[in-house]
């Protein structure tokens, strides 16, 4: 029997809500989708301001009523920019130091405020890097976490999962295209910059954010040439970073997608990358069948709704 899920992805000033029908025979049907800018930009100040969660919940309620979203289960997908993701190298024989303390100590060197303001989450991650085991730790501000929990509660949504988009996107690519060998770079065009996901057949490797400009301008306020130039700088900084003498990654596949991405940019971006660039289109998967009955949605292209699709796995 098909399972219906509300998949809601949040960025700092935008949300996308999709109702999806998932059945066990590897078939996903995109029933309906709604996109909307948020009534505010999520940042430190708006999180502290009373009423922000209520406004967001009210927007969700209006969208639910207008588009008749009816699924019982809801899953939130948050931009990885809301959290801090870090891989901590461990030493095999540090048995006298409690692992939790070691990770907190390492994270404290990176955090911009006191550790008490964060939740530390350690998923089941098994990777070795440079012959040493790595522990993956996610530091998530308690303010941000409480905000989204409150949004779900006020909107009367049964929120069963809250994930970061970098992990969901990695899962989506590996499920839809399991035959990809080598390192994969996913470039998500968001409003203020590129969200980069790097993974390989063993799993997640890295997440980064690269703004379009130093002043974090919106993509709406910069022209096409600047977007392409910024893309080139992003690729260069990833593959040829200044602080080290050799690249950390060897990218075999490069996919572009996102709500801010325009398919017409594909040819203009290619000169900036030695790796062939493709648009991440879930409809092209041969492992999963992604269906969409809405003609308008199909015309917009599935690359626009990759994040909400990723939330179902």
């Amino acid at each position: 029997m098909a399972e219906r899920i509300n998949s809601i992805s949040f960025h700092d000033n935008y949300l996308c809500w999709a109702e999806l029908e998932v059945n066990s025979s590897q078939h996903i049907n995109l029933v309906r989708v709604a996109e909307s800018p948020l009534p505010f930009t999520l940042n430190y100040n708006t999180l502290k301001t009373g009423g922000s969660a209520g406004q967001a919940a009210q927007l969700l309620g209006e969208l639910a009523e207008e588009h008749r979203f009816s699924a019982e289960e809801s899953r939130f997908l948050l931009s990885a920019r809301f959290g801090l993701i870090k891989k901590i190298m461990l030493d095999n024989t540090l048995s006298s130091v409690p692992l939790r303390d070691l990770i907190r100590y390492e994270m404290q060197e990176t955090l911009t405020s006191a550790a008490e303001e964060f939740i530390f989450y350690q998923p089941d991650y098994r990777r070795e890097w440079n012959a040493a085991p790595n522990a993956l730790t996610i530091a998530f501000r308690k303010d941000v976490y409480n905000f989204f929990v409150l949004v779900g509660k006020k909107a009367n949504l049964n929120v069963t999962e809250m994930n970061l988009n970098c992990f969901a996107l990695d899962e989506l690519v590996r499920r839809l295209f399991p035959n990809l060998i080598g390192q994969v770079l996913l470039v998500n065009f968001t409003d203020h910059g590129f969200e980069l996901n790097i993974s390989d057949e063993k799993g997640f490797l890295d997440y980064r954010f690269h703004p379009y400009s130093k002043s974090l301008e919106s993509i709406e306020s910069i022209d096409e040439a600047e977007v392409c130039e910024s893309f080139g700088k992003m690729i260069s900084s990833l593959l040829h970073p200044e602080a080290v003498d050799h690249s950390l990654y060897s990218i075999s596949h490069l996919f572009v997608f996102g709500a801010a991405f325009k398919p017409g940019w594909l040819e203009k971006l290619q000169p900036y990358s030695e790796t062939p660039i493709k648009i991440l289109d879930p409809f092209e998967s041969s492992e999963w069948q992604i269906g969409c009955e809405d003609a308008i949605l199909r015309s917009l292209g599935a690359s626009r709704f990759v994040e909400v699709l990723a939330n179902v796995f």
Partner: protein, 357 residues
């Protein structure tokens, strides 16, 4: 694949979690009752060797004892949204007070510099001034600025600690028995950790004897012994921990060169890396903070090079940069199974001390 669900946060008790619950790949401390330690007699162990270090060094304690950070308090999810405004003005007040204190201290320092006692005045006209006989040296070069006493003390501690750490690391690298190879050597403030690959338990016992003959006062505690397949052959991987007790400060002479800023230290470090043909695999500047009259910058780097180049590089940096304190040094193979083959990685966690400008 990685599945993350922030709605299912782990329950956090007052006791810290067992390490093996979180990272399955990390070897756990094996139950001593089950392991065969017949080649190891703990009754032979003498008192652990001490390393001279002033107890007044900044505490290594990075952790704060606070409430459960992994839980989300249910009372925060009340119907009425919490009022954050009451906390915000206090924070701003403390920031303003802090800025005011810094400005006042800066002004006092400037006044002290301008009007400090003992400044010589220009001689009156016609007065005979007895000048020292010229020795033919160039007297126009100003002497190097004196290093403040607080920094001198810190430099001595750093150099003593770094020298001891390098001595142990080099000593372990050069220690060994037949059919044994190091796979990891870690030096920290209170212990040394090593991992050794051996063909048999007898080889491990011979390794211990070789290390004890070089460092008679060290207490080697064997933590793990497990099977490991290398190139299709079954070997044993043994992990040792060696406790180190901090002692008094060292008496090594402090270099008289003027103190380097952190940026100058970084650029000289890069130049030194080029000299030894060492590449940087990772570089990160961490927290910066002030302590009394010093600026402390935490710095993390992973270097790659031949074993000889890395050790010679470390020897020179410990001699040239007294402002650097090595908090942790890890040496492990780069793409090989042991430290005796191919290139090695050196991972450094450093605190850099510089005078406040």
């Amino acid at each position: 694949m990685l599945k993350v669900n922030l709605m299912n946060l782990p329950d956090d008790e007052d006791q810290p979690k067992k390490p093996e619950q979180n990272i399955p790949e990390v070897p756990t401390v094996t139950d001593r009752k089950k392991m065969d330690f017949s080649f190891f007699d703990p009754d032979e162990e003498p008192v652990a060797e001490t390393i001279t270090e002033t107890p007044a060094s900044p505490p290594e304690e990075p952790l704060r004892q606070e409430e459960n950070p992994f839980s989300v308090a249910e009372e925060d999810l009340s119907e009425e949204e919490p009022d954050y405004d009451s906390a915000f003005p206090k924070t701003r007040l403390f920031v303003f007070i802090g800025i005011g204190v810094v400005l006042i201290l800066g002004a006092l320092f400037l006044i002290y510099k301008l009007y400090r006692p003992g400044t010589t005045e220009a001689p009156a006209a016609g007065q005979n001034i007895e000048r020292p006989a010229s020795t033919g040296e160039n007297l126009t070069t100003p002497p190097p600025p004196a290093i403040p006493p607080a920094l001198q003390s810190r430099y001595r501690q750093n150099m003593a600690r770094n020298t001891e750490g390098l001595r142990f690391t080099r000593g372990f690298l050069n220690s060994g028995a037949k059919n044994t190879d190091h796979t990891l050597i870690v030096y920290t403030s209170d212990q040394i950790l090593t991992s050794v690959l051996a063909n048999s338990r007898d080889d491990i016992a011979r390794y211990r004897q070789a290390v004890k003959s070089r460092f008679p006062n060290l207490q080697l505690n064997i933590e793990t012994v497990e099977d490991k397949f290398v190139n299709g052959r079954k070997k044993l991987l043994a992990g040792f921990s060696i406790p180190i007790k901090p002692g008094r400060g060292g008496s090594a002479p402090v270099p008289s060169a003027s103190p380097l800023t952190f940026q100058e230290f970084q650029s000289q470090l890069r130049a030194l890396q080029k000299k030894y043909g060492i590449k940087t695999a990772y570089r990160k500047v961490g927290e910066r903070r002030r302590e009394r009259s010093l600026n402390i910058t935490y710095f993390y780097t992973t270097l790659t090079g031949s074993r000889t180049a890395i050790m010679n590089f470390l020897k020179e940096v410990t001699q040239r940069f007294p402002g650097m304190k090595i908090n942790k040094l890890s040496i492990y193979p780069n793409g090989a199974t042991s430290l005796s083959q191919g290139r090695v990685n050196a991972r450094l966690e450093i605190s850099y001390f510089a005078p406040q400008s």
